[in-house]
Amino acid sequence: MKGLLVFTALFVAVFGKETFQGEPTDLSTPVDIRVPNIHLQTVKAFLEAEDIQYYIMIEDLQVMLDEEQEQMLKAARTAAPRTTDDFDYSNYHTIDQIYAFQDMLVAENPSLVSKVVIGQSYERRPLTVLKFSTGGTNKPGIWIDTGIHSREWVTQASGTWFAKKIVTDYGRDTALTSILNKMDIFLEVMTNPDGFAYTQTSNRMWRKTRKPNPGSSCVGTDPNRNWDAGFGGPGASSSPCSETYRGPSAHSESEVKSIVDFVTSHGKLKSFVSIHSYSQMLLYPYGYTKTPCKDQNELHNLAKKAITDLASLYGTSYRYGSIINTIYQASGGTIDWTYNQGIKYSYTFELRDTGRYGFILPANQIIPTARETWLALMAIMKHTSNPF
């Protein structure tokens, strides 16, 4: 009894009744107290002297309140943005929010941006590409895709940032304006929307498409092993249950076939950049063979320039080289196919980080990642539009 009386008396005397969360009632019921920092040592000493057991539930309430405040502000911001200026680029978004963003961007910039639907996913979602063009016909083009592997969330998030960056910088940034005067830019933000939906509803770590495989309980094909370049060779799996399942045949996935058809019918793409995460790498062909691609020297030097520019912003360090040397042998890959179609400046990015967070990169790294990656993209696009 003495302990409880002394305890209560001390606290009421020093801190006022407000420090208690609830009232001290009896000896066996724990009571929670909030202790101002300046009194911390006194309180601890008192409790120990009186042999009153205590446990620290929250080390620093202020930190928790700050974090909660931040989250609430974020939540307030994610109430449907009315313009792409309101859109919260520093957060991850749902499929619907990204589709809505694309429509808003087009509506706000009708003379620069249009939406091209290149096909449908397995689950019938539209495969939409944003076309950035200053007009004219038969212009050469640059292609950028993000989100082909659905769990690589920083890529779709960066894609929305790139879209906004292009419309912001056109007419303001000399280099980008010059590129767009000569070439069109095509940007597919959600290249695998079915997979992306699945990462949001069911399995955050889903990579592949969502097309079922006959005769197997395992769903999906790896869209980056499904291209007709070294298809069926080592560096992809023939098992539907594998994360690197190449699919029943090359271009079997509509998410891949739609791009193949687009590229083929466009006929004048000069650069093709497919964006993944994670590992911090900039890669060029080939993945399916050790034979160096014929433009290896030029692609290597351009990659070096691009990652140097990338590093200039925050010091983020990237490695670069051919896929097969730098990361692993991979067959049926996107940029091996696009390169073999004659699209010389074919690159794959692996964005942040190098394994600490991996696929679940904190949202506060989205904008820094997008900003630094943009510098590398600009280096590639500048060279593409002006190789000599």
């Binding site: 620290i56 080390e59 990579r207 799996s237 690197t244 080289g321 692993y328 394994g355 990169l361």
Partner: protein, 226 residues
């Protein structure tokens, strides 16, 4: 298989260096000390009777204090079984983490308020500050598994702590049951492991039991997607 000097930026050297990272975590890791691989500076390898031997000069980053330093290592990938590593990183001394580790240990050793958590980090890369040391601990403990499972065709990282539960303290060791998701880069598989681990400042991290979970082409447990 290249023999002699290796390009330190290409995957053979990088995979070997990642094994050294896991080894260092098993030796020195704690809830306040978690090592990651920085750059590889030099690498060479050769065939030996027992398997394949690598010599490496690399930079290791300690994630919490943000201190980096050089290490030299020798590692052997035997024909089968756990890689054998010898590494020296003179700067990796248990000094500045002592106070934090001790406070954390005292905070959790009386088993009145056993802690648990799940999805660390969550889908958005977020975690409560109080969960961070448990994330680090999960990563360090995972290194025991990742070290054991590594070979020249693998590259492992811990993708997420699916959940953890603190068990009663025993013999002065904090004890935990962990369920972790490991990402293997070459196969791109997510591999689920459960493990029983202990930790104290004096004894470091020990992994008592590991259980590979069957691959399931299924959904995350309910209520676990935010």
């Amino acid at each position: 298989m290249e023999t002699g000097e290796l390009n330190p930026n290409y995957y053979p050297a990088r995979r070997a260096a990642a094994v050294v990272q896991h080894y260092l975590n098993t030796r020195y890791g704690s809830p306040y000390r978690w090592m990651f691989l920085g750059n590889v500076h030099n690498a060479s390898s050769e065939d030996v009777t027992e398997g394949r031997k690598y010599q490496l000069e690399l930079t290791i980053q300690e994630m919490i204090s943000n201190v980096s330093g050089p290490c030299s290592a020798e590692l052997l990938f035997p024909g089968a079984g756990t890689p054998q590593v010898q590494a020296s990183c003179d700067w990796l001394l248990p000094n500045n983490t002592r106070a934090q580790e001790e406070a954390f240990y005292q905070q959790h050793r009386d088993s009145h308020n056993l802690v648990s958590g799940d999805r660390i980090p969550d889908s958005y890369g977020h975690m409560e500050p109080t969960m961070k040391p448990f994330w680090h601990l999960g990563g360090v403990a995972s290194s025991f598994i990742m070290l054991e499972q590594s070979n020249q065709s693998t590259l492992y990282n811990m993708a997420q702590v699916a959940n953890f539960t603190q068990l009663e303290t025993e013999k002065d060791q904090l004890r935990f049951q962990y369920h972790v998701l490991l990402h293997e880069m070459v196969s791109q598989e997510i591999i689920h492991w459960k493990m029983l681990i202990t930790w104290s400042p004096a004894e470091g991290v020990k992994v008592l039991q590991t259980d590979l979970q069957p691959k399931c082409n299924c959904e995350d447990p309910p209520d676990s997607i935010n």
